[in-house]
Structure formats: structure tokens, C-alpha cells
Symmetry: C2
Subunit: 251 residues, 2 copies
DNA sequence: CTTTATTGTAATAATTTGAGACAATAGTAT
DNA sequence: ATACTATTGTCTCAAATTATTACAATAAAG
């Protein structure tokens, strides 16, 4: 079959645009984002994991960056679509770009499992760099929604994750590392709790994320000393002991 | 001029490869890296800045990621090419992806200034995400080398930077922020010094990066208490006072 | 009205950090 | 030779911070 071996730059432009339309659907090629969405159910730290149709493959929620969309906006859009929440605490933490991270075979299985045309989505089989974000959300406010390619989306405790596709387990580990590093420095614990919470709940969050027991009195004194909490009404839990105060974060 | 409006996927593949060769020269499109290369001359913290031929434009050293090269390897290659050094302390710190960061006009000036064909390098005028790294190197061991597009490469004190193109000033600011956050936590000060150094030199590094004076005695006690230094021979500087010990980092 | 588990805060002990003090030098000046 | 000067390494004691214990104040149950 004859094919033009030389074409002028005008033709190149047009061909490129054409191929972009066919192949990338207006997305930036070779770049994706993945998000590690953390929630806290009162006892355990959990993250949202997708399961793709008919494949048994588990993955982090993620997606692609539109040509006319900022990177942050793409990640925000993704988390909003999965959780239904606006105004999410979201932080970029690393960009993964090893040569071995992409897995075209797994991607093919996902396309097949969804009955999608392999050729029309060939660009998805290419190498991708993943810009990774973590989000902290209020577990109780969320009804997770699967994406177009997936069956299922569920909370998994971070120490009971299934094997994830590609390097997603590694991404989760890095997210945890960075979260722990940033947790005290940036005072972001509130994002995992409802707007009003007890000191005990806050302490549980800290203990779970830092992975160690904290002394109740020191914790209370330290947090109150930071002058970031506002004391609200008492919470009567119907338990036979002193009722705790509720607190909310200032500003 | 007639142009094929529909082509089968095989043709798409071949066309894409062809266009990649013409346009991206084997690089991943829409992704670049930039590096903030820090050095310490004994008094000031400096970074390496490029000046492009005939444009008056200043920029961070950077480049593109080859299709068969990991992201980290690309950044390492870049820093190695600019500094001549192997085994560099290099850390990825953020990926910049706003819609406004790319500046095709500036890019055109650079291509023109270098007498390069605008059409053949049109891909460079597209939108780019920049994965940014910072490097800490031993100032005295380096003879910086300009890249293919630039005239000049020079050390600039971080508080006397010229206006840089695109969002590069913002990238430097973020690098400084992250460097300061990581500095004590990761004990990376040694990378800015020769392998043997005095306590005073190390203190100067800490003071410069943290931006505050430290108490000599407390600093010495704290650092020695960390048990990360090995004491070496004394350094006779020909000065009329007690000679300091040299230290090196353990392991 | 006593008991129980938990909460809020104060008091005290332990540890870390700050700020001087001081002896030991390596060269210079006398 | 001897005294002088600036700097270094280390020690001591004070100040501040953090850990641990103690204890009174509940809210509901028995």
C-alpha cells in the first residue's frame, strides 16, 4: 500500500490533529493522573479502589488530562467524579515515570472486558507517566461511583489491599509515606473528619496515620495549644461517663 | 491537495511513528523536566541558570524525556550534561501543569535565536507539563556547560535571580520551599559540601538554607549527637587559632 | 446515691535546647 | 621564648518543652 513518505509541515499538522482526535480524544498523550483517596471510618484508614469489568484487575482511580485543562483541574475532576464531593483536600505528591510501569497487556484486558475497540484506543496501550495525588475526605459523606471502565469501587483498609495493577501498590505506599510526613506539619487531619468531632476522634486519626499510640493528655494539650480548634457544644453519647466536647477547626 | 481522511489503524501507527520522528525526535510529547541545581560557595546558595542565544531569556536547565528512558534517568542525564558530575543527589519535587505556564512566543524566540527551523520544531511550541527536580552538588567540583540552545550557564545567588522565562521563578521558589522542608529531616546537607568539611562549613550550609543564625554550641552538640559524622584529621588553615577537625559523613 | 468509665486540666518529673563559661590551640606579634 | 588573638571543642547551668501522673468533674447505669 502506498503511503506518503514525505509530507510538508502543513500536512503534518493536519495529520497530527487528525490522529490526536482519533487516538487521544483531546487528551494529552502519555500522561495520566492517579489518585489515592483516603477516608477514615473511625477505626481504620481506607482508600478507594476500582475493579475493572470482567478482568479481576484492581486499580487506583485515575484518568487523563484534557488538552485545555490544567493538571490540577484534571485530578480534581477525577476525584469529584468518583466521590461526588466538591472542595476536596487534594495534594500532588509524585510523578511516576519508570520504563516498566506501563502494562499494555493489562490495558488490553480492560479494553476487552469493556468491549471497547482495541484499535480506536491504541493510545491507551502506550507508555504513561502518572502524576499522583492524594485526597483526604470525610468517609461518611461519600457514595463512591465507579468510572466508565469499572464495575465496582470500594473502600479497602490500607493494610488489606488487593494486588493492584501496574505500579499502583507502589503509588499507595509512596502516598502513605508522604501523608505521614506531611500530616503534623500541615495540620490536615480535619479533612478526614466531619466538621464537628471529639478530641478522641481526632486522636484516633493521628494514631492511625502516624501508626503509634499517643498519650491522651499530651495530645490534648498540644492540639489545644495550637489554637486551631473552636470548642462547640457537648456531645451526649448516652454513655455512662463524662460527655466530651465537640470541636471544629477555626477559619 | 487531497489527503486521506480515513486510514486503517496500521496506517495510523505508521503515520504516528513518522510524525513522532519528525516532530518529537523520539521524545515523549508535552512533557519536559526542569532542574533546580543548587550549589554552595561557602557564603551563598546559588543555582545554575541558562541564557539562550540572542534572546536575553533566562531559564532553568531542562529537557525532554526519551521514549525509552525513565523520567528519573532523563533528569539525571540533564544534570550530568550540565555539570559533568555523576552520582548526583537529585530529587523530584513537583510537576507543574497549569494551562498558562507554556509560552510559545518565548519558545519561538529561542528557536529563531538558534537559527532553528520553526516548522521542524513546532512540537516545542505546544503545551508542556514540567516535572521538576532539585539537585544538590558540590560547587567546587563543577564546570557548568551550556546546552545546545544556550549561550551561557552561570551560577546565580538565589536572592539575585534574573527574571526567568515561563514559570521558572515559581519553580525555583517551590524548590526552595521543599528543600527547606526536607533539609533537616533527610540530612542532605553533605551533598553541598566536599567529602571532608569543618563543623563551621556545615553550620554555614544550615544557616544559609534555613535562613537563620544557629548557635554554634547547640548546633555542634545536636549534629554530633546524631552520630552521623566521622571525625577526620585536623585542618591547619594557617590561621592564628585552634585548628578545626575535618568531618565526613558516615556510611 | 453509689459506681463506672471517660474527660478536662493541673501538677510534677524528665528531657531537650539555649546561653555562657572556659580550657586548648595555631599561628602572630613582641 | 613569651605573651597575645581568634577560634574550636566541651562542659555547666538555666530555660523551655515534653512526658507522666494525679485528680476533680461528669453522664449514665445499677
Amino acid at each position: 500500500m502506498p503511503f506518503c513518505l514525505y509530507f510538508d509541515s502543513n500536512m503534518v499538522d493536519r495529520a497530527k490533529k487528525k490522529i490526536d482526535n482519533i487516538e487521544h480524544k483531546g487528551f494529552i498523550p502519555n500522561v495520566s493522573y492517579d489518585s489515592v483517596i483516603f477516608g477514615f471510618n473511625g477505626k481504620q484508614l481506607k482508600i478507594l479502589i476500582l475493579e475493572y469489568y470482567n478482568t479481576g484487575l484492581f486499580a487506583l482511580p485515575g484518568g487523563f488530562v484534557k488538552r485545555n485543562e490544567s493538571l490540577d483541574a484534571a485530578a480534581e475532576r477525577g476525584v469529584r467524579e468518583r466521590t461526588g464531593l466538591d472542595q476536596i483536600y487534594l495534594e500532588q505528591f509524585y510523578t511516576f515515570g519508570s520504563l516498566t510501569r506501563s502494562d499494555p497487556q493489562a490495558m488490553e484486558r480492560i479494553l476487552e472486558g469493556n468491549g471497547m475497540d482495541r484499535q480506536a484506543h491504541q493510545w491507551m496501550l502506550d507508555r504513561f507517566l502518572s502524576v499522583s495525588y492524594y485526597a483526604l475526605i470525610n468517609y461518611d459523606e461519600v457514595t463512591p461511583k465507579p468510572d466508565e471502565l469499572s464495575d465496582n469501587i470500594n473502600w479497602y483498609p490500607i493494610d488489606e489491599l488487593p494486588p493492584l495493577m501496574m505500579d499502583h501498590n507502589q503509588i499507595v505506599n509512596k502516598a502513605l509515606e508522604v501523608l505521614r510526613d506531611n500530616f503534623e506539619k500541615k495540620l490536615i487531619g480535619m479533612n478526614l473528619l466531619p466538621s464537628k468531632f471529639t478530641m478522641k476522634q481526632l486522636q484516633m486519626v493521628y494514631e492511625t496515620i502516624l501508626g503509634k499510640k499517643l498519650r491522651r493528655t499530651s495530645f490534648q494539650r498540644r492540639i489545644l495549644g495550637m489554637d486551631i480548634l473552636e470548642r462547640q457544644e457537648k456531645l451526649y453519647q448516652g454513655k455512662a461517663h463524662k460527655a466530651p466536647y465537640l470541636y471544629s477547626f477555626k477559619s
